[in-house]
């Protein structure tokens, strides 16, 4: 198990390194500098700015310097939010994003698996069709339509929940964003679970279990559930990606001070270091999720563990 983990880790670290390097190079070869503005700056000020940010150094010096500071958790200064480092901005935003993201992920996984199992047990009956049609809608309807509609419904027409805004510690402001983030992965997990459950239920060992006279509940919980969850575990990393992508719009619409909103603002302002830092952060999270998924696989399916 440990060897397997180390092997996967050995694959993940170069991936991350390549991402950081490519992103860094892309930003440096981009046309136009970070200090391009409507009015061009006096050359002396420009030179001062460039040396303050270390941009007058040769490329490889900048690169090694960036790598070294990354290893210390330092993403460098933000070009647009003066007086803030990217690390500080991430430190402010990440807890908010992590809170709504984790809530959405847990809800999507548990509810999604429940719905999927329910649909599989009612296979080819009205309940199955209804749930799966809803799931297609859940996948297809974009979050930037869902959230404003929910806001219109629950915030403006019936006044149950705030449309947007954020107060520290206030759950009420987070409900609509969390629901919006939950829907697409929930629908996807439900579809995956249903398909893999139907698949597993046809296997010989399940037939044997039924033939032995075990009750439905025992067959499902003890025998069918674990192999049926393997595809769902594989969806974990895409689910996190989907939630992180969704958090960009959700935070922007609802006005939550999370990293997604900083990324959008950074992109609109062409804040190079902020966007670079965000891309590195998001990639690290995703690569980490990929590792976690591999471990989950190995736990769910012993064949993978012993393969190599």
């Amino acid at each position: 198990m440990l060897r397997y983990f180390l092997k996967r880790l050995g694959g993940a670290i170069p991936t991350l390194f390549i991402i950081v390097t490519l992103s860094f190079l892309l930003i440096r070869i981009a046309p136009g500098g970070p200090f391009d503005q409507e009015k061009s700056l006096p050359p002396q000020i420009l030179a001062n700015l460039q040396s303050a940010y270390g941009l007058d150094q040769p490329l490889w010096v900048q690169y090694t310097r960036y790598l070294r500071s990354l290893l210390h958790g330092d993403f460098g200064p933000s070009f647009r939010y003066k007086d803030f480092t990217v690390t500080e901005l991430i430190g402010q935003g990440l807890p908010v994003t992590a809170e709504i993201g984790a809530a959405a992920l847990i809800l999507a996984l548990t509810l999604g698996m429940l719905v999927g199992i329910l649909a599989a047990l009612r296979h080819d009956r009205p309940a199955d069709y209804t749930l799966m049609t809803l799931a297609v809608a859940g996948i297809a309807v974009p979050s930037f339509v869902v959230l404003p509609l929910l806001g219109l419904l629950f915030g403006i027409y019936v006044h149950w929940l705030p449309v947007a805004g954020w107060e520290p510690g206030s759950m009420r402001h987070l409900i609509l964003p969390i629901v919006t983030l939950t829907l697409p992965p929930l629908a996807y997990v439900a579809r995956l679970t249903r398909a893999s459950f139907l698949d597993v239920l046809q296997r010989p060992f399940i037939r044997t279990a039924f033939a032995m006279g075990l009750p439905m509940r025992v067959v499902i919980l003890r025998h069918a559930l674990r192999p049926a969850l393997i595809p769902v575990a594989g969806y974990l990393a895409p689910a996190v990606a989907s939630i992180m992508t969704g958090s960009l719009v959700v935070e922007s619409i609802a006005g939550l001070p999370g990293v997604g909103r900083y990324l959008v603002q950074g992109a609109l302002n062409r804040d190079y270091t902020l966007v670079l830092g965000m891309v590195v952060l998001y990639s690290a999270i995703l690569v980490g999720m990929g590792l976690l998924v591999d471990l989950l696989y190995a736990w769910l399916d012993p064949r993978i563990r012993f393969e190599r």
């Binding site: 991936t15 390549i18 991402i19 992103s23 892309l26 930003i27 981009a30 046309p31 136009g32 296979h123 080819d124 049609t133 297609v136 809608a137 996948i139 297809a140 309807v141 974009p142 930037f144 339509v145 404003p148 509609l149 806001g151 219109l152 403006i156 449309v163 139907l198 990393a237 990606a241 992180m244 992508t245 960009l248 719009v249 922007s252 619409i253 990324l263 959008v264 950074g266 992109a267 609109l268 062409r270 804040d271 190079y272 966007v275 670079l276 965000m278 891309v279 998001y282 990639s283 995703l286 690569v287 990929g290």
Partner: protein, 283 residues
């Protein structure tokens, strides 16, 4: 052989009610997008100052109402839908051609080339590609052609995997052997024998990338990183509407409903189409 495959697929597809309904709605939406603007006297750029943020109604033929600047929403929604659809089709074509070439080479050549090429796809597939697209817009500025390319560059990964799988199985067929025996080069075999034979099933999967790409484009435009004013796509219209929804919800509802309907139908139709071709997944 091919005839019957397509024949049974068509029969299965048309036997499915969901497929028929969604196809009907897609055709209707496309027809509306192409011809709809002529049915209405209002033009996209016209500002009607006597009807600013007006309710939907029949006065001045503002069927879906108007926005903050008095622009007619019916015409604007259809114009936005046209942009979204064109982006969806062009970017899908970009990903289709990329995926076809890449997958065919990897699958046909095989061996170490295949390992390396598929490892690259695997790595890219693990990346947050939407952030990569956003990153590109930051680096190169907001440019619509770049938008096509970068969105298309995101969509090709799955297609490359599918094409490779197909090409792997085609590699062992007798006609390939015959082509090699008659002295055809690798490039020639890929172009004249492998590609034509994988393209059928692949186009089926490509129909599923169209809604994904439309969604991605609207997403970027919604955030202000895609299509720029004065041009509009469904995403920019929805963003505009979301800001005005308290006073004038129809500015959100018109493009939102159009996009939702389009995406749901494209997804259902793509799913059914894939099922119709793929007997294995039919239950």
């Amino acid at each position: 052989m091919t005839e019957t495959l397509w024949g049974t697929a068509r029969r299965r597809l048309l036997a499915n009610r969901g497929a028929r309904i969604s196809l009907g709605i897609i055709v209707a939406l496309v027809a509306l997008t192409v011809m709809g603007p002529w049915l209405n006297p209002n033009r996209v750029e016209t500002l009607d100052w006597s009807f600013v943020a007006a309710d939907p109604g029949f006065v001045h033929a503002h069927w879906f109402g108007t926005d903050r600047l008095g622009r007619d929403l019916y015409v604007r929604t259809l114009a936005g839908a046209r942009v979204s659809m064109i982006v969806g089709l062009v970017a899908s074509a970009v990903s289709l051609s990329l995926g076809l070439m890449y997958g065919a080479i990897a699958g046909y050549v095989g061996g170490r080339t295949d390992d390396v090429m598929m490892r690259i796809v695997e790595i890219l597939g693990g990346l947050p590609l939407i952030f990569f697209v956003i990153f590109l817009t930051v680096v190169f500025g907001r440019n619509e052609y770049l938008l096509f390319v970068s969105i298309g560059a995101v969509g090709w990964l799955t297609l490359a995997r599918i094409v490779r799988g197909q090409a792997l199985s085609i590699r062992r067929q007798e006609y390939i052997e015959a082509a090699i025996a008659s002295g055809a080069g690798t490039a020639r075999i890929i172009c004249t024998h492998v590609l034509p034979n994988v393209i059928g099933p692949v186009i089926v999967y490509a129909t599923l990338t169209v809604p994904q790409i439309i969604l991605l484009e609207s997403f970027l435009s919604f955030l202000g990183l895609g299509i720029q004013e004065p041009r509009a796509s469904l995403g920019t219209l929805i963003a505009e509407g979301a800001g005005e929804m308290e006073a004038a919800p129809w500015i959100l509802l018109a493009p939102g409903a159009f996009l939702t309907l389009l995406l749901v139908c494209l997804n259902i139709f793509g799913d059914r189409l894939r099922d119709a071709f793929d007997a294995g997944t039919r239950r």
